[in-house]
Amino acid sequence: MSNPPQLRLYIDTNIFLDHFLRRRGKSSTLLKDIAGGRFDGITSHFTLSELTGVLKELRVPHADINRIIGQVQAFPNIQIVFHDQNMFLDMPQNMLGTCVQCRDALHFMIAKSLAVDRIVTRDGGFRNAVNSVIQCVTPEQLIP
């Protein structure tokens, strides 16, 4: 008998930042659980851009930013997906159908198009906007 498929999770930018900052909570544990195959991870190339923007804002040296972004790309079992034209074609309708803001819509369209089961985020605004379409959870809700 085959095992049931793992939950497919979209990982938001703030979860990676938790991990870099070694924040309280279970973001790092979640990333390790994904690497171990407990969950399937997805994020978007846009997440890498947001991470880069934050690290620049924090004045992290550019060489370190390059290294960190390269390492995120290497995280096992997290697919980094590019947007395609169909996602952008549908984006206005999806923004009208939810309360999602423009930049969060870029995350949402990947999550919706790739049929993720949960979005993992600590962003309350994002959660409120899209929770009726895709359930948003924190790492602690996934890993009690």
Binding site: P5, D18, F20, R22, H62, I68, A74, F75
Partner: protein, 116 residues
């Protein structure tokens, strides 16, 4: 078995199958106006990423994903890599969510030359 015959390969991940082909970058070498090029090339982890088109069985879509070698050590190596900033951010009551929003605001209002 010829190359086209092996296009359907089921990977160890549940949904990701059919690596069709790598999309070779067609851009010419960028010209950097400053010393940025040398800086990037000096970075030990810098490698040219590659996009790969794959069929995603769960959504039924052909998707384009970043194709780079995966490395389990990458998680441990980035665990707490910015922890030296944590106390300062805590004193400012800045959460990671706030950092993302702040970076967006800065990008809208500030145009700063890149730092060295």
């Amino acid at each position: 078995m010829s190359e086209p015959d092996i296009e359907s390969i089921v990977t160890t991940q549940e949904y990701w199958i059919l690596p069709e082909k790598n999309i070779e970058p067609t851009l010419t070498e960028p010209i950097y106006p400053s010393g940025t090029q040398a800086q990037i090339r000096d970075s030990v982890s810098y490698c040219v990423p590659c996009a790969q088109r794959m069929f995603d069985a769960k959504s039924g879509l052909q998707v384009c994903v970043l194709s780079v070698p995966k490395n389990a050590r990458a998680i441990d190596e980035t665990d707490g890599v910015l922890s030296y900033l944590a106390q300062e951010l805590e004193e400012q009551s800045l959460e990671p969510v706030d950092l993302v929003k702040r970076a967006w605001k800065s990008s809208e209002h500030d145009v700063q030359p890149p730092s060295a």
